[in-house]
């Protein structure tokens, strides 16, 4: 299958900070692709390069075969962008926001009318078409931004953290729209929500410090941690004492506590027996093997340190 997006050796520096470091990637047409990473990993820089807002210092980036540096206008004809922050025009009504987008894409009046009405219907805002975005909830504004990105029928849709700050119902609504678009375009999204990437995406790349760490489907990424021997232990009593014991075992690779519940990973399956022998069974309420989640993979790869 042909590549919708192709990055080769992309590097972008801000002064002494290398935001993206020799980053290479190919995304096939018709894929829902997620780029994950902690704050400052370089995700938004990659999107800004692909959407022609930023010029890389080195490397080439192609969108549907067009070079983002030399053929920016052609690239922008083919893309739709949902930025991190809603950048709607608050002095234009919902309908006028979409009409403006159509005009900037050089669409004719009749086609604009048809397409705008169709999109307002799709995102459930046709009853509010003459209202200004300031009067909308966060979810409604987000849906309008998604609709605006779709006016020109893009071949590649970029969604930069599309559901940040939305309530669960609005998040699900955005997911539904994104899923419904899957057959007609390539979707490139960045998100902090692992469940979002898990539910929506065919392929996931996790990056950090400007470099790719891992690439695969959600199932493939979780499989990487299948050998990690992750367990959950819950105690009826003396949780503090057991916590100190668990932290002292050399074969406990990681340990997280939430009340009387401990999540830990062992260096190997063979350490389960010595662990149970040491702590006994008197105070144990629950012990179980835990399937790795995408979040476990993310934390394992990018660390626990909070990023600014």
């Amino acid at each position: 299958m042909a590549a919708a997006l192709s990055l080769r050796g992309i590097t972008k520096r801000y002064g002494t900070l290398t935001a993206v470091d020799s980053f290479s990637l190919e995304v096939e047409r018709g894929t829902i692709f997620a780029l994950l990473g902690p704050n400052g990993a370089g995700k938004t820089t990659v999107i800004r390069i692909l959407t022609t807002l930023l010029r890389p210092d080195a490397g080439t980036a192609l969108v549907e075969g067009f070079d983002v540096q030399r053929q920016g206008r052609e690239v922008r004809r083919l893309i739709g962008v949902v930025p991190q922050e809603n950048n709607l025009d608050r002095y234009l009504t919902a309908r006028e926001n979409l009409v403006m987008q159509a005009r900037l894409h050089g669409m004719g009046e009749a086609e604009t009318r048809r397409r705008v009405d169709e999109l307002l219907e799709l995102v459930g805002l046709s009853g509010r078409r003459h209202d200004f975005p300031d009067t909308f909830s966060g979810g409604m504004q987000r849906r309008l931004v998604v609709a605006r990105a779709l006016v020109q029928r893009p071949r590649v849709l970029f969604l930069d953290e599309p559901t940040t700050g939305l309530d669960p119902q609005s998040r699900r609504a955005v997911w539904q729209y994104v899923e419904s678009l899957k057959d007609s375009m390539t979707i490139f999204l960045t998100t902090h929500y692992m469940d979002e990437a898990d539910a929506l995406c065919d392929r996931i790349v996790i990056m950090d410090h400007g470099r790719m760490l891992v690439d695969g489907s959600s199932a493939q990424l979780k499989e990487r941690l299948a050998h990690a021997h992750r367990y959950e232990l819950q105690f009826r009593a003396n949780a503090d004492r057991y916590g100190a014991m668990l932290a002292g075992f050399p074969f406990v690779r990681s340990l997280q506590r939430s009340g009387d519940l401990f999540r830990l990973s062992l260096a190997g399956e063979e350490y389960l027996k010595p662990l149970m022998d040491a702590i006994g069974t008197d105070d144990i309420r629950k012990v179980c093997l835990r399937e790795p989640t995408l979040e476990d993979v993310f934390i394992e790869l990018t660390g626990r340190e909070v990023r600014e």
């Binding site: 959407t51 022609t52 807002l53 010029r55 206008r73 922008r76 004809r77 893309i79 962008v81 930025p83 922050e85 950048n87 709607l88 025009d89 608050r90 002095y91 234009l92 006028e96 403006m100 987008q101 005009r103 900037l104 894409h105 050089g106 605006r148 020109q152």
Partner: protein, 251 residues
């Protein structure tokens, strides 16, 4: 070509149309206050200036001041607001239009608003004060307004492009724009300056604007030298603004 610029200009005009009456009422208030305060309040103290009553002398300057101030304000605040607050400039930049479309659209929006607001103040002054001019002089006067509004719209666009803090735009208005306007002959003729300074003052584009527009409206005289200074400044300002905006967007 420039369809994007036209779309942006059209958007700005739609927004202006929605609040046209309140905008024009607000913009007329300040020059009219100056006119009443200086023209009538000081009538007993100021005799004719350059052969015409002071109320007539200051009217062209006040209209010009309204037009160019409105062009600066609209361009500066609109560019800043769309770039820093609403971030619509970024939304425009991921469509097929170019940065030239954006900056040209914004310059012409500022220019149009300046011209419209200047016309509104002119209408109010003519209607309320009985000041009359020969209609044949209007074309020359408007030529000055067009060039002046273009210069100030470009200056505003540069401020809105380069300045990130709104208070800095306010400081530029207080420290640069207002002195440039007030010291260039809105309320007094440039001939009031000492002889040694006069030719230097006349080379300042705002002096060329206020002095040239007054001569055009009151006497029907078109000064080629002053027009050349204005036209050259407008052209240079336009080229510089487009280049500065382009450079800023590439950062």
């Amino acid at each position: 070509m420039f369809k994007g610029a036209f779309s942006i200009w059209r958007r700005d005009m739609l927004v202006l149309r929605r609040s046209l009456f309140s905008e024009l009422a607000a913009v007329a208030a300040s020059p009219l206050t100056f006119y009443l305060a200086f023209g009538f309040g000081l009538r007993g103290y100021i005799a004719d200036v350059e052969g015409v009553p002071y109320t007539v002398f200051m009217a062209p300057g006040l209209i010009t001041m309204t037009a160019v101030s409105a062009a600066f304000d609209e361009s500066a605040w609109s560019m800043w607001f769309h770039r820093k607050v609403q971030r619509t400039i970024e939304a425009y930049r991921v469509t097929p239009i170019t940065v030239y479309d954006i900056v040209i659209g914004k310059i012409f929006s500022g220019f149009t608003q300046g011209a419209l607001k200047g016309a509104a103040v002119a209408a109010v002054i003519f209607l309320l004060t009985g000041v009359r001019f020969d209609p044949a002089h209007l074309a020359g006067y408007l030529a000055h307004i067009v060039l002046g509004s273009m210069v100030f719209s470009c200056a505003g666009t540069v401020c809105g492009t380069l300045l990130d803090k709104p208070e800095t735009i306010g400081k530029v208005q207080a420290v640069v724009i207002m002195p440039l306007i007030f010291l260039s002959g809105v309320f007094f003729p440039v001939s009031s300056y000492p002889e040694a300074l006069r030719s230097a003052v006349m080379a300042v584009p705002t002096a060329a604007l206020f002095e040239g527009s007054r001569r055009a409206l009151l006497a029907g005289a078109l000064d080629g030298g002053l027009m050349a200074i204005l036209a050259g400044t407008a052209l240079a300002a336009f080229a510089a603004t487009v280049a500065i905006f382009n450079r800023k967007m590439a950062e």
